[in-house]
């Protein structure tokens, strides 16, 4: 008898789950309102998404006749599924792109927004100016970059309190080049044996010189040296500068300034500093880095910008939005992006949720979590990393961030390759091989665990065999064509 009941229950369950999975999605144009879907990554909670979107839609329905639905993914999941989103099998209209939009363009997943942006994206055009180019390929606008910090350079990030405690301020003030930093590391190593003087920035997942002073033009195979002062594409790995940087890192590794396990380090600088385990690292630095890092590490962080201390504006933009090429609502998408980029109410709602419920304004007019809530308990806080400047500042931000950002972007040295987007499709086979070779050598060389005197020539030889010269020639040809326009 029991068995029969179990069987019955099981088969009912199966039936229910089959029916549930058949449950259709309501494709919807209700009345004149167009519905669009947006996928974004986040690191915070978005449980109250529906509630917030209702408020957003009240505004968007009235202003542009569009309803939006956001779907937020945790960052880890996002990076695993991003390729899948690009393949066009999901029911999504706008996609956030982290780390470039060129793959989306290469796969034909990005809608050509050139005409639409002039018609419906006037606020975006006015805000971005020249920097709108970092969403273009061949003069076509495929992506909308957020108005982020475009001007930066490679620099050293370090614990200011440790420097002050050991009285090293003068020494730090005199640091001009990477090798000058060795003396500081030596002093820290002697005084603080429990703290690793130098660690890699984001663990072994990114290369140490990822934010080097050169313009990498989309990938490292062919770069413009000196922040793009000339338009001659050269092989980065064969330059004296690169060799010198690797030698310094190896020197530090041998002297024990960095850990013997630096090559397989899995924690980021932020995590290590939070636990007082690291003193300094190399990374991307701009006007806001000390402020931002101090907040995220919870320890006073300061920077020494290398490359002559001059921030350079270049091709790269980390965060852009693309409209899927198979969308049926391209116009609505453009209208919505324009509204999001320009309307403070929409910006605040999307980033922080509903005022009074998910955030409150403090005495300085900045946002903060309501009493009794924090990042772990607040039911909605999409965060600021994918948003623009058109919102109130969060309490952990620099109050003058927006003004400083515009100033920094306007005054930066601009790379000759600014706005250039490399199309890798003619050399895909070479790039696949090169990516594999870089896995083998680049991490080891750049974190110092490989001796450049021995391994750098092997690296160069391997790159040559894999056809780096062909890629560089292709890049140069595309760049010349871009500049000739």
């Amino acid at each position: 008898m029991n068995r029969k009941i179990t069987a019955l229950v099981l088969s009912l369950l199966m039936l229910v789950s089959v029916l549930a999975s058949c449950g259709g999605k309501e494709e919807g144009v209700s009345g004149d309102v167009e519905k669009i879907k947006i996928y974004v990554p986040t690191s915070a909670k978005t449980d109250d998404m529906d509630k917030v979107m209702e408020k957003v839609n009240e505004i968007t329905r009235e202003k542009i006749g569009v309803e939006v639905e956001f779907k937020a993914f945790q960052f880890g999941q996002w990076f695993q599924q991003y390729s899948l989103f690009l393949s066009g099998t999901e029911d999504v209209d706008i996609l956030a792109n982290y780390g470039g939009y060129l793959n989306a363009v290469a796969q034909g997943a990005a809608y050509d927004l050139t005409d639409l942006i002039n018609e419906y994206g006037k606020d975006i055009v006015a805000m971005e100016g020249d920097y709108l180019k970092s969403g273009q390929v061949d003069g076509h606008q495929y992506a909308i970059p957020i108005y982020a910090s475009y001007a930066w350079n490679m620099g050293l990030l370090y614990r200011r309190d440790v420097v002050e405690e050991l009285g090293l301020e003068d020494m730090v003030a005199n640091v001009k080049n990477l090798e000058d930093w060795g003396a500081v590391l030596d002093a820290v190593k002697a005084a603080k044996p429990e703290m690793t003087p130098f660690v890699s920035n984001s663990g072994s997942t990114a290369y140490t010189f990822q934010y080097g002073s050169w313009d990498d033009l989309g990938n490292n195979y062919g770069v413009l040296m000196d922040g793009g002062k000339t338009s001659e594409v050269v092989n980065l790995f064969a330059t004296d500068e690169y060799k010198h940087l690797c030698e310094v890192m190896h020197d530090w590794y041998v002297k024990g300034y960095s850990s013997k396990d630096i090559q397989t380090q899995t924690d980021s600088f932020t995590v290590l500093t939070q636990n007082d385990a690291a003193f300094s690292t190399l990374g991307q630095t701009d006007f806001n880095t000390p402020f931002y890092q101090t907040t995220s590490c919870g320890k006073p962080i300061d920077i020494v910008m290398l490359g002559g201390g001059v921030p350079v504006a270049r091709t790269y933009n980390n965060v852009t939005f693309t409209v899927m090429s198979n969308t049926k609502h391209a116009e609505a998408c453009m209208k919505f992006l324009n509204l999001w980029f320009s309307d403070v109410d929409v910006g605040n709602l999307i980033s922080y949720g509903i005022e009074g419920e998910h955030y409150v304004l403090n005495a300085d007019g900045m946002g903060e979590y309501p009493e009794g809530q924090d990042a772990n308990s607040c039911a909605y806080h999409l965060g600021t990393s994918i948003s623009n400047t058109n919102r109130i500042r969060w309490c952990t931000e620099d109050p003058d961030y927006a003004e400083k950002l515009i100033e920094s972007n306007n005054n930066a040295q601009k790379s000759a390759g600014l706005g250039f987007a490399f199309d890798p499709s003619p050399v895909t086979n070479e790039i696949t091989a090169l990516d594999n070779i870089c896995t083998r050598y680049q991490t080891g060389l750049e974190c110092g665990s490989m001796d450049p005197a021995v391994e750098l020539p092997n690296f160069l030889k391997a790159l040559e065999d894999a056809g780096i010269d062909k890629v560089i020639a292709e890049k140069q040809a595309q760049l010349d064509k871009f500049l000739g326009k």
Binding site: Y82, S83, L86, S87, G88, N103, A106, Q107, G108, A109, S204, N219, S259, K260, D261, Q263, T264, T266, M324, S325, N326, P424, T428, N429, I431, T432, A433, D435, N436, I437, T439, R440, Y441, Q442, T443, G444, S449, M450, A462, D465, A466
Partner: protein, 326 residues
């Protein structure tokens, strides 16, 4: 269920002689319809899950774009396959994939049978269960955890081997993650540490199915344990060994991605001995997300695997036809 449908048409050696039971398809359907109804869900499942998606193989021959879709994108012939062979590293990854798999198949069979035999010989039921669980447990761990367990042993500054074995003995520490000579052994060890428990289950089950009378008769005749193992146990297991080997040979161009990517912690210096076809494809295409090239790589692996299965089976059929799979 599928075997039920296969039985009436199983081809034997004297297939030339007209089978008196053979009737037209319609008659057979009519006669055995309940069996076909029983098999229907499985047949439908295989068609939907295994056969319809095969049309996606066309991806390997085209430059996939979202607007073109799976069937409408530009056809590029064999271009997508080039990256697998044009690279100077191509033969290294194929060599690694092949050699590791050959080692895993041969050593794996020996180890599994040995473990199964030892477990089988245990008299106490209780201890057999305890040992089996202990051996099986690593197989249930996620490979990420395994990679950190390995890291805890191998790390340069903090690893157990360096800190607590080599240093007290006054020996130079070894930086495992940059010396490639250790990795063929480490990877093989980790693989068997994880998989032996799972792999020996099948052999263990087969051993308990062997008629105990055979052993009794042998021991009456004065056969030693070793004799019993080599003359009774192993011969009885031959069909299982052959089936398992043919199945594994079919996957000889595939590798356990987790083992070869996670356990070496993506360390570049040891790629010469840890790179396999799967990790090469992953590293090369992660940044470009090229559907066509990924599909081409899988297609290539499957074709080679398919051919090898056919060849192995043909060889087995020649040597001892009753043990061949088909």
């Amino acid at each position: 269920m599928t075997t039920a449908t296969k039985t009436p048409v199983k081809p034997g050696k004297p297939a030339k002689v007209k089978n008196p039971n053979k009737k037209s398809l319609g008659r057979r359907l009519l006669k055995c319809w309940p069996f076909y109804i029983m098999a229907l869900p499985a047949i439908v499942y295989f068609i939907i899950n295994n056969y319809i998606p095969m049309s996606g193989l066309i991806l390997a021959f085209e430059h996939y774009t979202v607007s073109g879709g799976i069937f409408g994108s530009k056809k590029v012939g064999l271009d997508n396959f080039k990256f697998l062979f044009s690279s100077p590293d191509a033969w290294i990854m194929m060599r690694n994939t092949l050699l590791y798999n050959v080692a895993f198949i041969i050593l794996g069979t020996v180890l599994s049978i040995l473990t199964a035999y030892l477990l089988h010989e245990l008299k106490s039921n209780m201890s057999r269960k305890v040992y089996q669980t202990v051996i099986l447990f690593p197989g249930l761990l996620s490979v990420i955890i395994v990679s950190y367990l390995a890291n805890a042993l191998l790390a340069g500054d903090t690893g157990f081997i360096n800190m607590h074995i080599l240093r007290p003995l006054g020996l130079e520490p070894i930086s495992f993650y940059s010396e490639k000579k250790w990795w063929p052994f480490i990877l093989t060890f980790v693989h068997f540490w994880q998989m032996t428990g799972t792999n020996c289950i099948l052999y263990l089950a087969n051993m308990s199915a062997i008629d105990p009378g055979l052993y009794e008769a042998a021991s009456l005749d004065g056969a030693s344990r070793w004799k019993c193992l080599t003359k009774i146990t192993v011969p009885c297991l031959i069909p299982t060994i052959i089936t398992m080997t043919i199945l594994q040979v079919g996957k000889i161009f595939n590798s356990d991605f987790g083992l070869f990517y996670q356990v070496p912690m993506n360390s570049g210096a040891i790629l010469d001995v840890t790179q396999t076809i799967d990790t090469y494809v992953y590293r090369g295409l992660m940044n470009t997300a090229n559907m066509g090239m990924s599909a081409a790589a899988c297609f290539y692996q499957s074709i080679v695997g398919f051919c090898l299965v056919m060849i192995t089976n043909a060889i087995v059929r020649r040597v001892s036809s009753e043990n061949a799979m088909f």
